[in-house]
């Protein structure tokens, strides 16, 4: 039987999605459903003096209006509002809790009506009177007040001294603006009041059990009384890792009305949820004339809210990637009057590696070295921080295969040296790196005598293809065709799962399936051996395999019995096995995925219009379970990286503390016309250390390095270095070294 792992298997849920049979959180219809519309604050900080709901309540069809004054009881302790992904020690935002306004577009009332249109109309009639207070939303104005936060990344040697002594020094500031997730599907929750204090909650989330615990915490409910489902998610990208306020509001509504309530957020309201924090990345590199890194200094200053310290390891990547004996890393946070930022595709790496890889490019230019050659000279076979070897690292192969596919050898090093008619051509490259994480997950396999298999887990498929890869892994483990397997996900009553994030689900879940399949095989063998004249007599567990619907001696398929026969003979209708992914903590290796990204841009010389005409992303991420869904993941990451480089930016007016482009007409992401050729290469990376199947996961690695490769290509094309994203055409025209942010004072000084 051929293996399903490693093939380009189409999504098992594809048909359900394109025919509309796949139900999303806002699509569960039940009789008596009430609809909620949110009223948002229009100020950034202060208190609600008074909310006048008289006019709104007069509208026919309005049932009730919830505010902090009249909502059902909620917990009063910070810990009750915490969740699996909440920053430690913070005070999570509590929707509709009190009269405080902490950020602009904060939800302050929920209008409940018999239909959505009525609720929305009435919401416009709610009059809010505020006591306004002064606020701060501008990171640049708060840099001085930023506090350093503890990070696992420790200094090495004496970076300042080494930098001062280095033959060549480069320091530059890079800026990534706040970016929003903007998933296609809006955040939505349908909360069904089942009576007896029981709730069924359909929520858009990346973690049903996380939401279950959170809701139980806030409303002091028992886990048995709250079931949360999220069978399908129309994109979330990290915005659904923490429970969002729609689920609190809909639950408040259901508890108050004792009937089912649905809350679907508008696009604008989703700009009050979470985002990638604006981050200033300050890099200083010292190198020898031969291109050895003597010193790395990386300081990241990011925004967070006043109530929680959200931060990720922006500065961790330099320490991991490149050889350097002296390094110092500082991560600072500036607290602003904003909602807490959140994880967004490769948090900390998309931003930190962008800066690092642009700085490496600037260093290569100063050293007159090919940028790829510089990476090779600094290449490290060990995690530079821990000194540990990698469980596997095929980054060299990524560079080689990527460069070959791209034609990198034909690059002319001088900026503005390549052109195509009226366009300047630029080739840039960057390294990508992400963690290969694994988390405890459990799965249940149910085998029925008719040969059908059901695999279940509380994990969610956020569009990445979890349903499909689980079916593939189960198929191989059980020797059954993919289409005989049903996968059930996104239900808190199913076996334990972590939130779907960090690219850890595939590896973790595959491991759990393999374990459960082992148990199943064990039981089937025991049953088979009780059969009279069993051909499997005397065989041990390791001597038998499940293949083609039978249990058979390894290497001798004539000694086999059909599973249906085994079960019929033994008089069992079904066998059910549940196991966790109990892999041993491997503290002897570093576990990472890597990539080499190469980009070609063409820039109209007269007008500055930028086109990204080619991208090659060569990825080493262990064993690829499904080359089709994995390619889509990487391609999506490339598209997003192009957007990060050229388009994405929340425009905040700090006079109001408000995002002014809170819609997807004005908040730009790439459209079809912006995307040309994207080639994804998976480099072979056998890994017998990380887990028995050698799986690492590919969600986030696709975006890391892309923005840097594009930015470096733009420099190569134009000779202009733009360090504050996004690179819009007006920035190409501004005099080098100036600009709104007074960035770009890179000094490359030879001693």
């Amino acid at each position: 039987m051929t293996s399903s792992i490693g093939t380009a298997t189409s999504r098992v849920d594809g048909r359900a999605k394109v025919t509309g049979r796949a139900k999303y959180a806002g699509e569960f219809n039940v009789p008596g459903l009430a609809y909620g519309a949110v009223v948002m604050s229009t100020i950034t900080k202060g208190r609600i003096a008074r909310i006048d709901t008289t006019q709104a309540l007069k509208v026919e069809g309005v049932i009730d209006i919830l505010t902090h004054d009249n909502r059902p009881p909620m917990a009063s302790d910070d810990k009750d509002y915490s969740d699996d992904v909440a920053p430690e020690g913070g005070s999570p935002f509590r929707p509709l809790y009190d009269d405080r306004i902490r950020f602009n577009r904060q939800p302050i009332a929920l209008v409940l009506a018999e239909d959505w249109e009525t609720a929305r109309f009435a919401a416009t009639l709610v009059q809010v009177h505020y006591e306004v207070e002064g606020f701060a939303t501008d990171l640049h104005a708060e840099l001085e007040r930023a506090r350093a936060v503890d990070k696992p990344v420790k200094p090495r040697g004496d970076a300042s001294k080494a930098l001062a002594r280095a033959a060549l020094r480069l320091s530059a500031d890079y800026l990534i603006p706040a970016e929003y997730h903007n998933p296609m599907e809006p955040f939505a929750a349908t909360v069904i009041w089942d009576g007896d204090g029981k709730l069924t909650i359909h929520d858009k989330t990346q973690g049903v059990q996380n939401v279950q615990r959170y809701v139980c915490g806030i409303f002091h409910l028992k886990p048995d009384d709250v079931r949360v489902t999220s069978p399908f998610v129309g994109g979330a990208f990290g915005s659904g890792l923490r429970p969002q306020y729609e689920v609190v509001l809909a639950t408040l509504g259901a508890l108050k009305l004792k009937r089912p309530v649905r809350v679907v957020l508008t696009r604008e309201e989703m700009y009050g949820l979470s985002y990638r924090p604006m981050t200033l990345e300050r890099l200083a590199l010292g190198a020898s004339a031969e291109g050895a890194l003597d010193a790395v200094m990386h300081e990241a200053i990011a925004m967070t809210s006043r109530n929680e310290d959200f931060s990720r390891n922006d500065t961790a990547w330099a320490e991991l990637l490149y050889k350097s004996s002296n390094a110092r890393y500082v991560h600072k946070l500036a607290a602003l009057d904003v909602v807490t930022p959140a994880d967004m595709r490769a948090p900390g790496a998309a931003t930190g590696v962008y800066a690092l890889e642009c700085a490496m490019d600037e260093l290569a230019v100063a050293l007159k070295l090919d940028p790829l050659e510089l990476r090779l000279r600094c290449y490290s076979e060990r995690d530079q921080g821990s000194g540990q070897p990698y469980s596997s690292k095929q980054l060299r192969e990524c560079y080689r295969q990527g460069a070959e596919a791209f034609g990198w050898a034909k690059r002319n090093a001088a900026p503005r040296s390549m052109r195509d008619g009226s366009e300047l051509v630029g080739w840039g490259m960057a390294t990508g790196v992400w963690e290969a994480l694994q988390m405890p997950f459990a799965t249940r396999i149910l085998l029925t005598a008719n040969g059908h298999v059901e695999v279940s887990c509380a994990a969610t498929d956020i569009g990445t293809g979890t349903y499909t890869v689980m079916a593939q892994v189960a198929a191989d483990m059980l020797g059954a065709p993919v289409d005989s397997i049903t996968v059930k996900l996104g239900d808190s009553s199913l076996p334990q799962a972590q939130v779907e994030g960090g690219s850890w689900t595939a590896a973790s879940v595959a491991h759990a399936i393999a374990n459960a399949a082992d148990d199943l095989r064990k039981e089937l063998l025991a049953l088979a051996q009780t059969m009279p004249n069993s051909p499997l007599q005397g065989l041990k567990l390791d001597d038998v395999v499940l293949a083609d619907g039978a249990i058979a001696a390894k290497g001798d398929t004539r000694r086999s019995i059909g599973l249906a026969d085994v079960m019929r003979q033994a008089g069992v209708e079904r066998i059910e096995k549940e196991r966790g992914s109990d892999f041993k903590e491997d503290d002897k290796h570093a576990h990472n995925t890597h990539s080499a990204v190469l980009a070609e841009v063409k820039v109209d010389e007269e007008l500055g219009v930028i086109r990204v005409t080619r991208v090659v992303n060569a990825v080493a991420a262990g064993r690829i379970i499904n080359t089709k869904t994995a390619t889509s993941q990487i391609m999506g990451g490339v598209v997003w990286g192009i957007g990060m480089a050229l388009h994405e930016e929340a425009l905040v007016d700090h006079a109001f503390g408000r995002v002014m482009n809170a819609n997807i007409a004005e908040y730009h992401v790439p459209v079809n016309a912006d995307i040309h050729e994207v080639k994804v290469i998976f480099v072979e990376e056998p890994d017998s250390v990380i887990n028995p199947l050698g799986i690492k996961g590919v969600g986030e690695i696709g975006i890391v390095g892309v923005a840097a490769a594009v930015a470096n290509a733009v420099y190569h094309a134009t000779g202009t270095r733009v360090r504050d994203l996004p690179i819009t055409l007006d920035k190409l025209a501004r005099p080098t070294g100036s600009g709104d942010l007074e960035l770009g004072q890179s000094r490359a000084a030879k001693q």
Binding site: E117, F121, E606, L607, D653, D730, A733, R734
Partner: protein, 338 residues
């Protein structure tokens, strides 16, 4: 979004009657702008008068060699109409540079003229805006104004008119046919949109009780030498930072007639007769194009974030005139600038 009543207009006279009867009513055609504005609570009509069934969907030749376009002709139908493709390719191109295919399928000719600015503050009722709420102040002047106007601005408003189609119509010197309680009238395109002055709440000279029935294109279509070039922040589906419509009549190596209109820079499609006069009679070459550009932009004024538009407009004018002169017009489905 507010609650509203809905009615249909039986014919043009009925539409006028209905709108005259209700100060707070609005016509709805494609709805691609109006419905958005209602969702943002910027427009709060108490009644929507649906005009989509009126017989204003014809594209027909006029007696004096021009073409008359009904107000309800969808933008896509117009762009791909054989008469327009053959005789007014500048108009077809400008339309295809705008919005997305889906929006163009819905958007009407009349509605396109009356679409409102995309100034970020105009859309956000939590901020002051003179155009939305006269006298409340202009947030853009000292705020986020990267996409705002550089020509014809006032202390009260620096918004731009966002249409692409209208830039071509201005260059082609179309006329707007309207009907109102006191009968029908024609408005020259140049007089249709207004500058903000101190009444930025009024975008156009159309009276509130009037309906647009048609656009008329004069016979001269500049089909040989023309180009529409739109510069924006992504390669499609974004409003213009600067756009240029250039139409030239070239004969014996000299420019005999020239039209130049800019989008994304002012409260209306921007034309400058003096700049056009500099082109007339000249040999089509870059130095002349640059002179015309400088003339057109001589009074341009940049604000904190949009000063780049002045130089960008200059370059775009030169490029577009070159495209027109060389008969290599920009092709909207190809994103490489020719």
């Amino acid at each position: 979004m507010n609650n509203f009543a809905y009615s249909r207009a039986a014919d043009v006279a009925d539409a006028v009657r209905q709108i005259a009867a209700d100060r707070n009513a609005k016509f709805i055609a494609g709805g691609t702008n109006l419905i958005d504005l209602m969702k943002y609570d910027v427009e709060r009509p108490v009644r929507l008068i649906d005009i989509t069934r009126l017989p204003l969907r014809a594209v027909e030749e006029t007696r004096d060699g021009g073409v008359r376009v009904g107000a309800l002709v969808p933008n896509s139908d117009l762009a791909y109409h054989p008469l327009i493709e053959a005789r007014y390719p500048l108009l077809a191109s400008a339309i295809l540079a705008g919005a997305s295919a889906q929006l163009r399928n819905m958007a009407s000719t009349g509605g396109n003229l009356l679409q409102r600015t995309r100034c970020l503050y105009f859309y956000d009722t939590a901020t002051p805006c003179n155009k939305r709420e006269p006298g409340s102040g202009c947030s853009a002047i000292n705020g986020i104004n990267r996409t705002n106007a550089i020509l014809g601005t006032s202390e009260a408003c620096i918004a731009t008119h966002p249409s692409d189609m209208c830039v071509a119509l201005a260059a082609l010197e179309a006329t707007v046919h309207v009907a109102g309680p006191s009968g029908e009238r024609c408005i020259d395109f140049a007089d249709f949109h207004r500058l903000p002055g101190d009444t930025p709440d009024r975008d156009t000279n159309l009276e509130s009780q009037e309906i647009i029935t048609a656009i008329e294109l004069p016979a001269k279509g500049f089909a040989e030498n023309h180009s529409y070039l739109k510069i924006r922040d992504r390669l499609s589906y974004a409003f213009a930072l600067v756009s240029v419509a250039a139409a030239l009549e070239i004969n014996g190596g000299r420019i005999r007639d020239a039209r130049l209109a800019l989008g994304g820079v002012a409260h209306k499609p921007w034309r400058d007769r003096e700049a056009e006069a500099l082109l007339q009679g000249a040999v089509p070459e870059r130095t002349v194009f640059a002179k015309a550009a400088d003339r057109l932009l001589r009074d341009a004024k940049g604000y904190a974030h949009n000063a780049f538009k002045i130089d960008l407009a200059r370059r775009a004018i030169i490029r577009t005139l070159a495209q027109a002169a060389n008969a290599t017009p920009q092709i909207q489905s190809v994103k490489k600038i020719r």
